[in-house]
């Protein structure tokens, strides 16, 4: 990828040739469907204590592996059955959304701040600053992200803070790449030069005149990166080096259900299904936003 190829994006100027009518409808629909599911998930995460009476970490070893409601011999107490420690699966699934969404949102916010600042500086000042920051981006892209995240979490000791810090330090690259090239595209515009002429400071120009122009593009990147982060968290937790038990994380639940995959495949099907649904919703939302905002970002 390196400097010459990685750091180019297609500028938002050429508006996609509009297709048939139903395609525009589909784009709008994907925002509504994606946004709707996302909204419901957020609601579920916030209202978790109201939706279930079970503590998601409460063990009940007498009632291990209760079956979910659609299977024969299920118990009425546990709607979606219980896991290998007798914990209520329904409430673990509900509380799991807190981990995915919480980590997703916080990592993306930190990563956006890091990446956008770097990208703005590189694009605005150019020259040596740009060389240095482009070098940072290339270095970051060269690192195997899952492995470095795993190693850092394993060595630093797994906690939510560590997880968020490590992931934030690893996923800022897209923000930086896009902010850099967008800034380059507009830094010589009339109004920027006018601002300079009136004596505005560099910082002020970057924050007040350039940043607002990047807003819609950055929001799209943030959505798409959030999907990425949610998947990363689940992979780390699946490998036992992310969220620690007994905290309910969907990735961790898949790992725990894995030992019983032959007899109770629903134990992995349910948390996996939730993950797919959430990530799909975020992706649909982001894709729709991108098409509507006219920001054409290579993926």
């Amino acid at each position: 990828m390196a400097t010459s190829t990685a750091l180019n994006i297609i500028t938002p100027t050429d508006i996609r040739k509009s297709g048939p009518h139903w395609i525009k409808r589909w784009k709008q629909a994907s925002i509504i469907i994606g946004g709707g599911i996302l909204f419901l998930m957020i609601l579920m995460a916030i209202l978790a204590p109201l939706l279930t009476t079970y503590d998601p970490t409460l063990q009940d070893l007498d009632n291990r592996f209760s079956l979910p409601f659609w299977m024969e011999g299920s118990s009425p107490e546990h709607l979606l059955g219980s896991d290998h420690l007798g914990r209520d699966y329904f409430s673990r699934l509900i509380y799991g959304s807190r981990i995915s969404l919480g980590i997703g949102f916080s990592v993306v916010i930190f990563a956006a701040v890091i990446g956008t600042s770097l990208g703005l500086l590189a694009g605005y000042f150019g020259g040596k600053v740009d060389m240095l920051i482009s070098f940072l981006i290339t270095t970051r892209l060269s690192l195997p992200i899952v492995l470095v995240a795993l190693a850092a979490v394993a060595l630093k000791g797994a906690s939510l803070t560590t997880l968020v810090t490590v992931l934030s330090l690893l996923v800022w690259d897209q923000f930086a790449i896009v902010a850099r090239s967008s800034t380059q595209a507009i830094r010589n515009n009339e109004y920027i030069r006018a601002a300079r002429a009136t004596g505005a400071s560099h910082l002020r120009i970057m924050l007040r005149d350039i940043l607002p122009n990047l807003r819609s593009t950055l929001i799209v990147i943030a959505t798409l990166e959030m999907a990425n982060v949610i998947l990363l968290e689940s992979a780390l937790s699946f490998l036992g080096l992310g969220v620690r038990p007994p905290t309910p994380s969907w990735g961790l639940m898949i790992a725990e259900g894995r030992d019983n995959i032959l007899f109770d495949p629903w134990l992995i099907a349910l948390p996996g299904g939730m993950l797919c649904l959430l990530v799909l919703a975020v992706n649909l939302f982001g894709d729709g936003l991108r098409d509507v905002s006219g920001a054409r970002i290579k993926r």
């Binding site: 990828m1 010459s4 395609i23 060269s142 190693a151 060595l155």
Partner: protein, 305 residues
């Protein structure tokens, strides 16, 4: 060309150096590596002994220079767990990862490129939308979960492939399917976008107006130019496939680098982890550098820029 080559090589070397210092400094994330090795039951005396044995009592910069110097000679240190040279352990495990990565890459290219071309023929057509829809929804599926589901369906229920291990080539079928599945959308989207652009150029119109059929125009005229931007993305994808197999290897119990890295992390075998991170990063740097050079060779406009 030669100047471009040198410049590109210089950047690659710098990146390699930066990557090496990052994987080196991982040892210090936990604070004192000697205490980490001594473990919870270790006394101060044990830690002191380990510090001297592994040279942790020297200044960090000296340790780093030492580590890089040895790494340049192919010596990545000694595994705490196996008590064997790290390079030897990595050498034993790397073939599985390389096979898995490259086969998945070839499969992804063979599926992604034709799909991209077909989608480009009728942008926003039914096939195009279908393919994009599948790509978007497919990206939402966690790879390890897809792997487990495939194991249940094809390994347990249908019993057509082994559920784990790589004793025979059939053990590679599911991992390759899963890995290539995630590389296809990126390749396909880019092929599509690039092909759409090329199909609008004048020389394609000329070729068409000469009465050439669409297959000839695409294969003989358009593809050569449309494939240019793919070189770098393909290199990136191959790099991601090689380093991304860590999750897949542990799902399918394949004895590659990824699984080795994971196991080494669980038993705090740091030199092995550092070695693997270094090797994978270097492979990535090598691939992207090669891609840039190939691009410059294919397209003179790049090397003059």
């Amino acid at each position: 060309m030669f100047r471009f080559f040198l410049k590109r090589l210089f950047v690659a070397l710098l990146v390699a150096l930066a990557v090496s210092s990052i994987s080196f400094s991982l040892a210090y994330l936990s604070g004192d590596p000697a205490i980490a090795i001594a473990g919870a039951g270790g006394s101060d005396k044990d830690a002191e002994l380990i510090r001297q044995l592994y040279g942790f009592d020297r200044p960090i910069l000296v340790q780093y220079v030492d580590w890089v110097g040895l790494a340049l000679q192919g010596n990545l240190g000694t595994s705490y767990y196996f008590n064997m040279p790290v390079s030897q352990i990595i050498g034993e495990r790397i073939p599985v990862t390389l096979i898995l990565g490259t086969v998945s890459f070839v499969v992804a290219m063979l599926v992604g490129l034709p799909l991209g071309i077909l989608a480009a023929l009728k942008p926003n057509g039914l096939l195009d939308r279908m393919v994009l829809l599948i790509a978007v929804s497919g990206q939402a599926v966690p790879s390890f979960w897809l792997g487990l589901i495939l194991i249940v369906v094809f390994g347990v229920w249908l019993n057509v492939v082994p559920i784990s291990g790589a004793e025979s080539w059939t053990g590679f079928i599911l991992p390759v399917v899963v890995l290539s599945y995630y590389a296809i959308p990126a390749l396909m989207r880019l092929m599509r976008a690039s092909m759409i652009e090329v199909l609008q150029t004048n020389y394609v119109r000329t070729a068409r107006s000469k009465g050439l059929g669409m297959p000839t125009v695409i294969l003989r005229h358009a593809l050569r130019n449309a494939i240019l931007p793919l070189v770098s993305v393909a290199a990136v994808q191959l790099g991601i496939l090689l380093s991304g197999s860590i999750v897949i290897e542990s799902v399918f119990a394949l004895n590659g680098l990824g699984r080795l890295a994971w196991e080494s992390l669980l038993r705090s075998d740091l030199p092995v982890v550092q070695g693997i991170i270094l090797i994978l990063s270097l492979i990535y740097v090598l691939l992207t550098t090669l891609a840039d050079l190939i691009n410059a060779w294919l397209d003179p406009r790049i090397r003059e820029a």
